[in-house]
Amino acid sequence: MRVELVEAAVDPGALLSAFIAGRRETGAVVSFTGLARADGGETTALELEAYPGFTEAEIARIAAAAAERFGLQDALVVHRTGRIAPGEPIVFVAAAAAHRRAAFEAADHLMDFLKSRAPFWKKRHGPGGEAWIEPSAGDYRDAQRWERQETRRP
């Protein structure tokens, strides 16, 4: 299980290849890459702020909970901080499991919790100025659905 905050651009392909390499008991790896959107020109850059030390620890807690719930063999979360241009990856998540369902659900679960429960603050810069972005009602609903729904274990 690995959690990393990085200021430089990330290469999701290289992260995925390294995550997959050398596994003999893993049947499924699911990865997700979140990109910064231009929003039709409204966003020229995103600025991500973290609380170094605390943010990694909270993400590790979220990842450990997902690993336990879905029976993951391994997980990787790489999150950018600082200034991010449209088209650049903000977040990369990978989940490894013996079977695909656990890997799909764990990656989905990890992202839902990262969106609204990981300690990041996101500012949008654009032609109209700058504004902090709060999680949407949908983001909170996405995280809440895991409180109701029980997953099927293989």
Partner: protein, 79 residues
């Protein structure tokens, strides 16, 4: 004395990111900050704002030592 850190919109609102404040408890610290800057004081009590003392989320009051680090965390938005 405690080291106070503000994140996200709170630091833009206050116009500072980090400073030392004389306070023996979290409640006293909130009071001291609110006395100086009423708008910030209200924002620290606002919806979804959490406080962490030495990187642990605290609900209610907590004692502070001179080495304590208090962080005010507005609603979080990653990914």
């Amino acid at each position: 004395m405690a080291r106070v850190r503000l994140f996200g919109p709170l630091r833009d609102l206050a116009g500072w990111r980090e400073r030392e404040v004389e306070a023996a408890s979290l409640a006293a610290l909130r009071h001291a900050l609110a006395r100086e800057d009423a708008v910030l004081g209200a924002a620290l009590d606002g919806p979804g704002v959490q406080a962490a003392v030495d990187r642990t989320i605290v609900r209610g009051d907590a004692a502070l030592s001179p080495a304590s680090e208090v962080a005010f965390l507005p609603p979080m938005s990653g990914g």
